[in-house]
C-alpha cells in the first residue's frame, strides 16, 4: 500500500493565512518573548514555548447504527527550561497571562540562580518542505461525508460473509496547529492534518469467535479513501481476516525459521531496533546499543532508516515538536550502527547533530526522542525465493503490535500467520507471540526481499506514557530462527 497521492495537491499549511506566531492563540510576539525571559530568570540555559490548538472529530458505527459522534478541542501551552541535563516543565490550558507566567516560573525553577542567558530576537521561519498531502481537508468536510465513509466500510464487512456477526467501524480526523518558540530566536509553526478509518470484524462459527482488523489514513485528506484505500477494501479486509482465522490452527511452539510478510512486519524493526536507537536510552546507557555506535551488530542485509519526511505518511511532519526540520536518518547500514534518533536534550549532552525526532503527545508533555516512519531497506531476493528456501517454518502475515525492553528482548504479536511446509504456505495460524533478543535476530536475518512496503497507516507508538502516530515498513525477510509462542 502506498500513501502518496498526486503532487498537485495543495497542502493545508500553505493554504492557511500567514498569521504572526502566537496571535492565533491570543498572545503577541512581545508577550511570548517576555515569557521566555521569565523562564530563563533563574539561570536556565535554554527556554522554549510550545503552543497547540487541536480539533478532533470522531464517528463510530456499531450494531448497524451510527452510534455516536464526538468533537473535541484541546488548547494549551507548555514551557520548558533546560539547565545542563535537567528539565523544568510547566503547562497550562488557560492562556490567561497570569497562568502562562506561572507555567514559565515553574519551568524556570529547575535552575536556581540569576539569569545567565538572554532570549534572542524571535525570527519566524517557514518549514522547508511540506509533507502533508491534502486536497479535501477533513476538518472542513461536513460530518455527513465522514459518516458515509464509516457506513461504507461497515457494510462491506457486514455483507462479506455469513460468518461475520459483529462489525465496528470508526473514523477519526484531527488538525493540530502548533507553534514552537525558543530562546535562540527560533519561531516556527506547523499545521498537521491526520485522518484514520478502521474496521473491526468479528466472525463466529460453532461457538468459536475470532476478529480481523484493517484500516488506513495518514497526513492526507478525505480523497485518500477514494484514490488510495477505499472504505470497502478496509471493511472487506477486516472481514476476510476474521473469516480466515475461524479455520486457523494453533501456532506451533518453539524455535523455528521465520518469514515475515512485507509491510506489517515493520513492527519488528520498530521494536527490535528503533526504540533502542532513540538517543535518551543511549545517553543513559540503558540501551544495549549505547556502546555499539560504529560497530557491526547485524547481518549485511540490514540497513535501517527513520524518515519523517515521507509525504502523506502517518509518522511524518514538517518540523518536530522542538521546531527542528527533520531529516531522513540512517540508523543501521549493512549491519553497522550509524546513528541515534535525537532530540535537543540528548543531542546537546551527547554532542551530536539534531535529527528532528523530538516529539511529544501534546502540550502537556516535554519532548523525547521518538521514531516517525521506520523501515528496513529492500534486498535482492524475490519473495518466492525466500519462501522456497524454508522447509518447515512460520510465516508472519499480519501483526498487531509489540514491545521491547532496553536489554534488547522484544516481542511482537502475530494476529495471522501460516505454516510453511516444503517452501509453501499451508494452514493459516492464529494468534501467537514471537520473542527474541534484538542483536541475535539482526544477525539471523538471512534474506531480504525486493518488495519493500509500509504497513497499515494506523499505528500509534507508546513511550513513557506518550502516544504518537508512527508507521513502519519492511520487505519480505527471513530470520533463521526465533521462538514462537504457540501451543503443544
Amino acid at each position: 500500500m502506498d500513501g502518496v497521492v498526486s503532487p498537485k495537491s495543495v497542502s493545508l499549511s500553505l493554504m492557511s493565512p500567514p498569521l504572526p506566531l502566537g496571535e492565533r492563540f491570543g498572545l503577541d510576539a512581545a508577550d511570548l518573548r517576555k515569557v521566555l525571559e521569565l523562564a530563563l530568570s533563574s539561570g536556565g540555559d535554554f527556554a522554549e514555548i510550545y503552543l497547540e490548538r487541536r480539533g478532533y472529530d470522531f464517528v463510530n458505527m456499531e450494531e448497524d447504527i451510527i452510534k455516536e459522534t464526538a468533537e473535541s478541542v484541546s488548547l494549551g501551552l507548555g514551557v520548558r527550561v533546560l539547565r545542563g541535563g535537567q528539565t523544568g516543565f510547566g503547562y497550562t490550558n488557560d492562556l490567561a497571562p497570569d497562568k502562562v507566567r506561572k507555567a514559565a516560573l515553574t519551568a524556570a525553577a529547575i535552575a536556581r540562580g540569576k539569569a545567565r542567558t538572554r532570549s534572542a530576537r524571535i525570527r519566524p521561519r517557514r518549514s522547508a518542505a511540506d509533507v502533508y498531502r491534502v486536497r479535501q481537508p477533513a476538518d472542513r468536510a461536513g460530518l455527513g461525508k465522514k459518516i458515509a465513509l464509516v457506513r461504507e466500510a461497515y457494510e462491506a464487512a457486514r455483507r462479506f460473509d455469513r460468518q461475520i456477526v459483529k462489525v465496528k467501524a470508526t473514523f477519526q480526523d484531527s488538525r493540530s496547529d502548533i507553534a514552537v518558540l525558543n530562546s535562540e530566536g527560533l519561531s516556527v509553526r506547523d499545521i498537521r492534518p491526520m485522518v484514520k478509518l478502521v474496521c473491526l470484524a468479528i466472525s463466529e462459527k460453532g461457538g468459536q469467535r475470532e476478529f480481523g482488523f484493517w484500516g488506513g489514513g495518514g497526513r492526507v485528506g478525505l480523497e485518500y479513501f477514494r484514490d488510495v484505500l477505499t472504505p470497502r477494501t478496509i471493511g472487506e479486509q477486516a472481514a476476510h481476516e476474521a473469516v480466515l482465522l475461524i479455520e486457523a490452527v494453533d501456532a506451533p511452539a518453539g524455535e523455528m525459521p521465520i518469514v515475515l510478510a512485507p509491510g506489517h512486519s515493520g513492527v519488528l524493526i520498530h521494536e527490535a531496533v528503533g526504540h533502542l536507537l532513540e538517543a535518551d536510552f543511549n545517553r543513559k546507557k540503558t540501551s544495549i546499543f549505547w556502546n555499539k555506535l560504529g560497530r557491526t551488530v547485524g547481518s549485511e542485509l540490514v540497513t535501517i532508516y527513520d524518515d519523517p519526511t515521507i509525504p502523506a505518511y502517518r509518522g511524518s511532519y514538517n518540523v518536530d515538536d522542538e521546531g527542528t526540520r527533520p531529516r531522513k536518518t540512517l540508523l543501521i547500514e549493512k549491519g553497522r550502527v550509524c546513528g541515534f534518533l535525537q532530540d535537543r536534550l540528548s543531542a546537546g549532552l551527547m554532542k551530536q547533530a539534531l535529527t528532528g525526532h523530538g516529539r511529544r503527545q501534546d502540550f502537556s508533555y516535554a519532548p523525547i526522542p521518538r521514531m516517525a516512519n521506520t523501515y528496513i531497506e529492500r534486498g535482492e531476493h524475490s519473495p518466492e525465493e525466500i519462501l522456497a528456501s524454508v522447509d518447515r517454518g512460520f510465516y508472519v502475515a499480519s501483526l498487531s503490535g509489540g514491545q521491547v525492553e532496553d536489554s534488547g528482548k522484544f516481542t511482537f504479536s502475530v494476529s495471522l500467520g501460516y505454516l510453511i511446509e516444503g517452501g509453501r504456505l499451508t494452514a493459516p495460524v492464529k494468534q501467537a507471540t514471537l520473542i527474541g533478543t534484538n542483536i541475535d535476530v539482526l544477525k539471523r536475518i538471512e534474506m531480504a526481499g525486493s518488495d519493500l512496503e509500509f504497513g497499515l497507516q494506523t499505528g500509534t507508538c507508546s513511550k513513557e506514557g506518550q502516544d504518537v502516530p508512527v508507521s513502519d515498513g519492511c520487505p519480505t525477510l527471513k530470520i533463521s530462527k526465533m521462538t514462537v509462542g504457540g501451543r503443544t
Partner: protein, 451 residues
C-alpha cells in the same frame, strides 16, 4: 508551600456544569450531561542523584454528552472559555441529529441512593502540604538506597508524583455530584548485569494517602530484589508445565478477565464469555469482585461517569459467572442493571480483584515439583474474542519446590477459559497496589515455549 494552588476549591464548578446542562436543553437537547475535571499534577524524575525532569501544572477538561431523539453526540474541551463550551454544546445538539436513533441511548435514571464521598477516604489534604524539597528527597533517597547494592549497574531513575483531582458531574435527570481525590506514587527502575546481559525491573508504591506510601527503603529493596533475581538467565526447552503467577502477573490476568466481562465487550460479542452468564467458567477457587466502595483504595469512587452510585458486585462466585460489569448503556442493551462501571462512553473497573485463598506464596511454590514462576511479561498477545493468551515471559524455574534459576526469552500461551478452570491454588497475598489486582495463583498447565 502550595496549599492555595490546589485545584480551585471554592469555585462553583458544579454550578458551571449545571448551567451548561440547561444551556444544552435550550439548544434542543432532550437530555444532557456535563463533567468537569480539575487536576493538579506534580512529578519529579531524578536519575543518578540529580533532578532530571520536574513538572508542575494544573489542567482542566470538560466533557459533554447531548441526546436528542435518542441520538447521541459527545464533545470535550480543555479550553474552558465560555464561548468555546457554548459552541461545543450547540454543535453537539446539531450533530446529534446526524447519528442514528438508538433505543438504548439515554442518561441513567436518578438514583435514590447517594454515597458520601467523605466516607470513602479518597482525599488526603496533607498531599497539598508536601513541599517540593521533600518530594525530590524521597525520589533521591529511593535511588540512592537501590544503587547502594553492588549488583545494580544502572538506573532508569526514581520518580515521585502526586495528583489532586476534583471531579464534577451534572445531568438533566437532576444528578449533581462532585468529589475530590488524591494520589501519590514513589517508584524506581533498575538494571543489573553488563551491557549485553542486562536485566531490568522496577517497583512502586501508589496510595491515596501520603502516610500510607511505602518508605524509600522498601521501594528500593523490592526493586533491587526483583531485578537481581533475573541475573544469568537460561532458555529452556519447550514444554507444558504448571505456571505460578506472582501478584503483579495475576493483576494483568485479571485485567484481561475484566475486558471479557465488560458489558461493552459482551454486547459487541467481542468476548468469549458473552453467552456464559450464570454458567460455570472456572473452578471453585475463582471468586472475583468489583468493588467501588472499599475505603481509601485506588479504584474507589462515589459514582461512575453516568452518575450511578458505586457498589460491590460479585463477578465470579466459586467459578460461576454472576454478573457482567456495565455502564447504563451496556446494561440496557443486555437487559441488566448498571453496576456503576461507566467511564466516559465505555466501561472500566473499580477495585476488581480475585478473592485471596489461604496458602502463602512460599507454600504454593513448595508444592510444585516442576514449573515456572512467572515474574514479568512483555508484549500484548491477549485476545478477548477467543480468550487466547500468548506473551513474552520472564520467570524463575521451579524444581522440587525450590526456585532454581531464572529463565528468559520464552513465551507462555494458553486460554483464559482453560486457565480459570485450571487454577489449582490461590495465595493469601492480596495487595491493592493497583485497582485491578489479585494474589499469587497456580495454573495447572500452560505451554512454555523456548528452544
Amino acid at each position: 508551600m502550595r496549599a492555595a494552588a490546589g485545584p480551585v476549591r471554592d469555585e462553583n464548578l458544579t454550578g458551571l456544569a449545571e448551567k451548561l446542562v440547561s444551556f444544552a436543553r435550550k439548544c434542543g437537547a432532550d437530555e444532557a450531561e456535563v463533567s468537569l475535571i480539575d487536576g493538579l499534577e506534580f512529578d519529579v524524575d531524578i536519575r543518578k542523584g540529580k533532578v532530571e525532569h520536574l513538572v508542575e501544572a494544573g489542567s482542566r477538561v470538560c466533557g459533554i454528552r447531548v441526546i436528542k431523539g435518542r441520538r447521541t453526540a459527545y464533545a470535550s474541551s480543555s479550553d474552558l472559555a465560555p464561548e468555546t463550551l457554548c459552541r461545543l454544546v450547540r454543535n453537539a445538539a446539531k450533530r446529534a441529529e446526524l447519528a442514528s436513533a438508538d433505543e438504548f441511548a439515554g442518561l441513567a435514571p436518578l438514583s435514590k441512593k447517594t454515597i458520601d464521598p467523605g466516607a470513602l477516604d479518597l482525599f488526603d489534604p496533607s498531599i497539598a502540604e508536601i513541599d517540593s524539597k521533600t518530594k525530590i528527597r524521597l525520589a533521591l533517597e529511593t535511588e540512592r538506597i537501590a544503587l547502594g547494592d553492588k549488583r545494580i549497574t544502572n538506573s532508569y531513575g526514581a520518580n515521585f508524583g502526586t495528583n489532586e483531582v476534583r471531579s464534577v458531574l451534572a445531568n438533566s435527570n437532576g444528578f449533581a455530584g462532585e468529589y475530590r481525590q488524591t494520589y501519590c506514587e514513589l517508584s524506581v527502575g533498575l538494571q543489573a548485569g553488563e551491557t549485553d546481559d542486562k536485566v531490568e525491573d522496577s517497583w512502586f508504591s501508589a496510595k491515596r494517602r501520603f502516610r500510607d506510601l511505602a518508605p524509600p527503603e522498601e521501594v528500593a529493596r523490592r526493586a533491587v530484589e526483583r531485578t537481581v533475581r533475573q541475573l544469568n538467565p537460561r532458555k529452556i526447552r519447550t514444554r507444558n508445565v504448571p505456571v505460578i503467577f506472582e501478584p503483579t502477573q495475576t493483576s494483568w490476568l485479571l485485567a484481561f478477565l475484566f475486558g471479557c466481562v465488560s458489558g461493552t465487550a459482551v454486547y459487541q460479542k467481542a468476548s468469549f464469555l458473552a453467552e456464559k452468564l450464570g454458567q460455570r467458567i472456572g473452578n471453585a477457587n475463582v471468586t472475583v469482585f468489583d468493588d467501588g466502595l472499599l475505603p481509601g483504595k485506588l479504584g474507589t469512587r462515589p459514582f461512575d461517569s453516568d452518575g450511578v452510585p458505586s457498589q460491590r458486585t460479585a463477578v465470579v462466585e466459586k467459578g460461576v459467572l454472576k454478573n457482567f460489569l456495565c455502564n447504563t448503556y451496556a446494561a440496557r442493551k443486555l437487559r441488566l442493571e448498571s453496576t456503576g462501571n461507566a467511564d466516559g462512553s465505555g466501561v472500566s473497573p473499580n477495585n476488581f480483584y480475585l478473592e485471596p485463598g489461604t496458602a502463602t506464596a512460599r507454600e504454593i511454590i513448595g508444592a510444585t515439583k516442576e514449573g515456572l514462576l512467572l515474574i514479568r511479561t512483555l508484549g500484548h498477545g491477549l485476545n478477548p474474542v477467543s480468550g487466547d493468551i500468548s506473551r513474552g515471559a520472564f520467570g524463575l524455574w521451579i524444581e522440587n519446590g525450590e526456585v532454581t534459576f531464572p529463565v528468559s526469552e520464552i513465551t507462555i500461551s494458553g486460554n483464559l477459559g482453560r486457565i480459570l478452570n485450571g487454577i489449582e491454588a490461590v495465595g493469601s497475598d492480596l495487595e491493592f497496589f493497583s485497582p485491578v489486582t489479585g494474589p499469587t495463583v497456580k495454573v495447572a498447565e500452560m505451554t512454555v515455549a523456548g528452544e
